[in-house]
């Protein structure tokens, strides 16, 4: 429990060096290939930084990520977030079912996903890109929000996930996984 280090402008190259331990799961450029592990390339700076804070403080829990984030300083987080935001996201290979993709497109409309995640679900600021994300990860995370175990920043996603059925979750994930993962502006 010590004083936070004064913030300073994020250092992209420092972020690249500090991302060394992250490579094994998230890939050298933040594009992961392990099913269930998200790609973080091109995610907005605020988003990645907030997630790391939540892992460090125990508000978001994961057997792999919690220990990785436990000893990161605020500066480390800013550098890592800047590095990954600068990387270009590539599509994740996924076997999606056209019927689920179509149903997911409808559900995304009904559930107002674009209100926060923006058209194309590309994300901005503290809100993540969902387009082209890993299918297994999307399903896992939506189930977590529904179960109220995936800590979100302000409760918006927990609230939004409550009306979703298991088949809704699958359809939404299939739809999101097929969208082109354009980098967040």
């Amino acid at each position: 429990m010590t004083a936070a280090a004064p913030a300073r402008a994020a250092d992209l190259e420092a972020g690249r060096r500090k991302s060394e331990p992250c490579k094994a799961c998230h890939g050298a450029d933040g594009n992961a290939s392990i099913p269930g592990t998200p790609s973080i390339a091109g995610q907005p700076v605020f988003f990645t930084h907030w997630q790391l804070i939540k892992y460090r403080d125990g508000r978001r829990k994961d057997p792999q990520m919690s220990p990785m984030a436990a000893n990161l300083s605020d500066t480390d987080m800013a550098d890592l977030a800047a590095f990954y935001a600068s990387q270009r996201p590539t599509p994740r290979p996924a076997t999606t079912e056209p019927a689920k993709v179509a149903a997911g497109r409808e559900l995304a409309q009904q559930h107002h996903c674009v209100s926060c995640h923006r058209p194309g679900l590309v994300g901005h600021e503290q809100i993540p890109r969902l387009a082209g994300q890993d299918l297994t990860y999307l399903i896992k995370l939506l189930r977590g929000f529904k179960a109220q175990t995936a800590g979100d920043l302000d409760g918006t996603m927990t609230t939004a996930a409550q009306p979703l059925s298991e088949s809704d979750i699958e359809s939404l994930a299939h739809y999101m996984a097929t969208l082109p993962p354009a980098p967040a502006p």
Binding site: P6, A81, H112
Partner: protein, 403 residues
């Protein structure tokens, strides 16, 4: 009905949110995210959205204190920095300044060494712990769903004591679920239970000001029809409770105004969701209602200004006329095409308790359309100077008067 246990109806909120605003048959069945809820179809293309909270505080060199304008004779300095998402400030008895946060989930202790300040994190990972209050060596912390306490905290800042339960049966709803917390003149802990929506018929348990004894007994509602009040204080002489309220969004740039109210007695209704700003019925929920049935604000503070902190000035550093004036910290608008707020306003009350003057005290966090900071709460120092917390820059400023 006022005695209904708070916890029983928490579940109902999810249902209310899921149903969303009625009456537009073409709308999809699911409720939009809370901040977007109530947006009319005519505004569907609006790009307005809440301002994102930065994940880290600004470095001191990135904080342009000289842009903060105050009246002649006053001077602003950067008092503390690197306090992520700094919100409510409250003093310990031994000179520690406790500082809360909201999305950062932390509670801080700031130890003043004269020319420098140490910032310690005394609790982290909490559920939007905005409300903090201190009495008899104990720090009380209000999260969304519970009030807890840390006994003897000021002697154990480096090894904080466990958080003990005070009152743990509050609703879990996150929209407007964060709380302001303060001791009233009656020794009770006062806090808000906000409406779990932008606009809806809230459950009977929500949209109020409430109080509980510091031992967790005697819960009761104080005021109803209060959409979300996250700032209040008591008049130093009359002991009346004054509070700010954030008004609903998506009724346009200039409607409705946020409010500054007085709760002169228990059980009054302040209009939400039926009547806004004391004189305007809600286009949907106001049907068949009359504004004359509800309390009117003593001051319309402006549309979307987001009034948070309320503080009566009781110090002796500022000129004599400042005594018993009220500082209102306005965090600033998002639901308006031209930004407004981002300032600390000052209210002068007349002899009858009415509004004599409403004027800026500190402003400059908004430059053109660019926001570099958001003043959210104030706290008086022992010497009579005024601290202002900025949750966007993660900083605390000190305003002093120099003759």
């Amino acid at each position: 009905m006022f005695r209904t246990p708070v916890m029983l109806l928490a579940v109902a909120v999810v249902l209310v949110l899921a149903l969303g605003p009625l009456g537009e048959a073409q709308q999809p069945a699911q409720a939009p995210p809370p901040w977007k809820q109530g947006q009319p179809s005519s505004m569907a293309d609006s790009s307005l959205a809440p301002i994102a909270q930065p994940p880290a505080p600004k470095a001191p060199g990135e904080i342009p204190v000289d842009k903060i304008k105050v009246p002649a004779g006053f001077k602003v300095s950067l008092w503390a920095h690197s306090i992520n998402n700094a919100r409510v400030m409250t003093w310990g008895e031994k000179g520690t300044l406790f500082v809360s946060s909201r999305t950062a989930g932390n509670v801080y202790a700031v130890v003043d060494n004269g020319s420098t300040r140490d910032v310690k994190v005394i609790a982290k990972g909490l559920n939007l712990p905005n409300g903090i209050a201190f009495r008899n060596g104990t720090l009380y912390i209000a999260e969304v769903h519970r009030i807890t306490k840390m006994v003897g905290i000021e002697d154990k800042l480096d090894n904080p004591p466990a958080m003990e339960a005070v009152y743990e049966t509050l609703p879990k709803d996150l929209p407007h679920g964060w709380k302001y917390l303060a001791f009233g003149p009656d020794g009770k802990l006062y806090f808000n239970i906000g409406a779990p929506c932008n606009i809806c018929i809230p459950p009977d348990t929500h949209a109020n000001l409430s109080r509980v004894n510091p031992d967790g007994t005697g819960f009761e509602y104080v005021a109803h029809g209060v959409r979300n009040s996250v700032g209040f204080d008591w008049h130093p002489v009359t002991k009346n409770l004054y509070f700010t309220t954030h008004a609903r969004d998506w009724l346009g740039d200039d409607m409705p105004s946020d409010r500054f109210d007085i709760a002169a007695k228990k059980g009054q209704h302040f209009g939400f969701p039926y009547c806004h700003q004391g004189d305007t019925l809600d286009p949907e929920f106001g049907k068949g209602k009359s504004c004359s049935d509800y309390e009117k604000p003593i001051l319309k503070t402006g549309p979307h200004v987001a009034g948070n902190g309320v503080q009566f000035y009781t110090g002796s550093m500022f000129p004599a006329e400042y005594k018993n004036r009220v500082f209102l910290a306005q965090r600033g608008s998002w639901n308006r095409s031209q930004k407004i707020g981002f300032r600390v306003m000052m209210v002068t009350l007349d002899a009858k308790g009415g509004i004599a003057k409403y004027e800026p005290f500190a402003e400059g966090w908004l430059q053109g359309d660019q926001v570099w900071g958001r003043p959210v709460y104030t706290q008086q120092m022992k010497d009579g100077s005024l601290l202002i917390a900025d949750d966007y820059a993660g900083a605390i400023y000190r305003v002093a008067f120099q003759r």
